[in-house]
Structures are given as C-alpha cells and as structure tokens.
Symmetry: C2
Subunit: 238 residues, 2 copies
C-alpha cells in the first residue's frame, strides 16, 4: 500500500510552527537552540536545521548567529504568496471559506491561461468556486480547476470551511509541493466578481493566477483568484 513515512524534519517543523501560530512562542522569543532541539527530539543538527530553514523561509523565525532563532512577528496581512503546502491563512485574522455551488465536472475552458497536457485536456476538469471571508467580509473569490484524474467522490464533498489543501492531502494523498503565480492589478469588470467581493464596478482588484504542483508527478491544479485589497494587503516574505 501507500507508504508515507513523515520525515523527522517535517514533524519538527509542524510542531514548532504550531507552537508559534498558537502563541506558545511569541514574537521576539528565542526558540530552543539547535543543540537543545537535537537533544529534545533525538535528532542531529542537519535534521533540526532543515526544519528551522523551512520556518525561516516562511518568515516565522529569524536566525542570528551567536544568539539564536528569534520568533518573528506574525504577518499583518494575509499569507498567500509565500505559502508552501500548509494552510493558507497565517496570523490572527479570522478566515472562513464558503463554497459557491457544488463542485462540478466540466470541460476545460477554451482560453486557459496555463498550458495543459493532452492527458489533462482529455479528462476534463473539476470546477470549484469559493469565497473567502476575513472577519466576515468577502476578500477572495477563488476559482479552482482540478484535473479530473483519480479523485473519486470529490464532487460530492462539502468543502465549507475546510482547506482544499487538507482535503487533498488527507483523502487523496496529494500534497502541494510548489507552483508559480502571476499577479496583476485589474479592474473589476465582471459582474460576478463585483457581487461576490462587494465591489463597485471598475474598482481595482488584485488578480492572481496560480499553478499548484503536487507530490503526484504530473498532477497540478490551477487557481484563479480575485482579491479585494481595500482593507487587507497580501503579504509575502523572501
């Protein structure tokens, strides 16, 4: 059967991340030193460092030679840009997700932004619309296209308030490993977008076109997002 040994550095990463997000470690705190983490978890330094490297890349900690790993302040905006595989929303913001209709199977759009393989084209796609609300106000309108390949019963799932990433991971052993994204500022011309995001026509919206690659070789899915950035910023680290 499928074997999924979770690497040690991943476990440690998840645990430390959770402790930071949950406030066990607070901004400015020092994490246990690398050697302490080694001893605590029976690991060696390269393994511990790999976990810390992931946290560093995502901006949860900053390292200072001779001092230690400092917990960084949490993003004020909404962490979408630099997210890598785990839940999207970072920080104290209150984020909920609402489906628009049910997922449905349909052909791919004709003028799809990303290029598709023959296999993807032939199977059609699962179409999925969601709205994300921050503090009960609509901020994201997200259209997702998944290749209709080996995703049994997907269309009958209820995805309200569930991370798509989590559903894919838990039910289909699919993990997002990376991807690419294109950003633009455009006018909210579309009636649907205005309605969902509570925007007047022609107001500026941030448009995000993303391709998300998964651990299953050749399996990518696509997300097109419109963001009302009147009250929030998208946040990223590098």
């Amino acid at each position: 059967m499928t074997k999924r040994p979770i690497p040690h550095y991943r476990r440690l990463y998840e645990q430390l991340r959770k402790n930071i997000v949950d406030g066990v470690y607070r901004e400015g705190d020092l994490l246990p030193s690398e050697n302490e983490l080694c001893a605590l978890h029976n690991l060696t330094r390269p393994t511990v460092r790999k976990a810390l490297d992931m946290l560093t890349h995502e901006g949860f900690i900053k390292k200072r030679q001779g001092l230690g790993s400092i917990v960084h302040k949490l993003p004020k905006g909404i962490g979408i840009l630099s997210v890598a595989g785990t839940t999207s929303a970072v920080g104290s913001t209150n984020l909920t997700t609402r489906m628009v209709g049910k997922p449905r199977v349909q052909p791919w759009p004709d003028d799809f932004f990303f290029s598709l393989s023959a296999r993807e084209l032939s199977t059609g796609c699962i179409f999925l619309e969601r709205i994300r609300l921050v503090n009960d106000r609509p901020v994201f309108y997200d259209i997702t296209y998944l290749p209709n390949i080996n995703l049994p019963r997907f269309t009958s799932r209820n995805l309200d308030n569930k991370s798509l990433f989590d559903v894919l991971r838990q039910n289909y052993q699919l993990e997002v490993k990376g991807g690419e994204q294109y950003l633009k500022a455009i006018r909210a011309k579309d009636e649907t977008i205005c309605r969902y995001l509570n925007l007047a026509r022609d107001e500026p919206v941030l448009h995000l076109q993303r391709k998300l690659e998964t651990s299953r070789s050749g399996f990518s899915f696509y997300s097109f997002m419109y963001c009302n950035t009147n009250d929030f910023s998208l946040y990223g680290i590098f």
Copy 2:
C-alpha cells in the same frame, strides 16, 4: 578587517545559476547529478544539495527523485516577488532603469508605512526615485528610502542602469538577505504615478511595499513600488 569567505554552496549556486540564465543549460535539460557535482567540485552531497535547494526555491530547477534536477522554464513575467538578493529581472525581458533626479538626503516621511528605529529616524534617509522600463515602456515606478548611515558618497553616484543591489554589495558590502512585502491593487490617483507610468487617472496599479533586510545587522531599506500591469504580470514561485 571584514572577512568574507564565500561559502562553497554559494559559489556552486552562483555558477549553476549563471549557466542556466546564460542558456548553457536549457529548459528541460538535466543538471549533472548530485554525485557528479560532488566529484566535479570536490564537495560532499549536503553542500551540493544546499546549492540545489537554493536553485529549487527560486524556481530555476525542479527535482525528480530517481531522475535528476531538471532545468525549469524561465519566468515569462518579471521576477520581483521571489527574488532573493541577486539581480531582479530574470528572463529574456529587456529591462532598463532610469533615475528621476538625483538621490537626496531628507527626513523620513511622517506617515511611514513601516516602523522605524530611533536610530534610523535620527539620521534621516536617502531618497531615491527610479523608473524601470521593460522593452522601453515604463512599468515600474520605485521610491526607495535608505537609512543615511555609513553610505559615503552615495548621493553622488549615478545609478542609471545599475542594480541598486549590486551597488550596495560592491561598494558598501551590503547584501540583501530577505524581507517582507505587502501587495495591493489600487487606483492610480497620484498625478506623478500616472505621468511616470503612462497611465490614465484611476487606472488600476499594483502597489508593492517592501522592507529589505541586509547582511548588516539592523540595516534595512524600504522600497515602494507602483507597477503598471497592463502588459506584464509580476511573477513568483513558491
């Protein structure tokens, strides 16, 4: 004096990156295997892997277990978002930089977006306006604020067509190590922005607010960018 031994993994990274950007390795090519790179450069695998990890993070290569490291296609857009320390523009686009006036020393603005330390506030800042053109069309309008600390003769430098990053690195031993950024889609309300970016009033622009942290502890600088995304997208990888 300052000692700056460049790490082996950094050298290897720079060399491989150059070979990819220059087209020595092309899209779809396989890089030499990790063991081959070890032998070629007299390094061990963890060191080689660190260099490859950097390339992976920046999207230059994709790894496939059992196969090798595949050179990824170069960004179609303009690589600003995921840039980490090296020159910004990646790809075949023709990017030039033009100064608007000369750099000048002045007090920090009153309503500065990022919080400033007392030391930064007391020394004032170097103010710097630039326009970036892609294929001779204005795309970015960038306002940069540098703390006026230990940057002798900076205001008399000509920065036309030079990367600010390079100037800081070569002349002041300052390397950008990371940072944070906030993104919004806004209206081009400001007359200056419209003129520089060749935009009608109220057209949507992408607004990027960045804090860039350097290798000199406590030394950060700040960049506020307006992007005309009518013809180009900002590109990012994760």
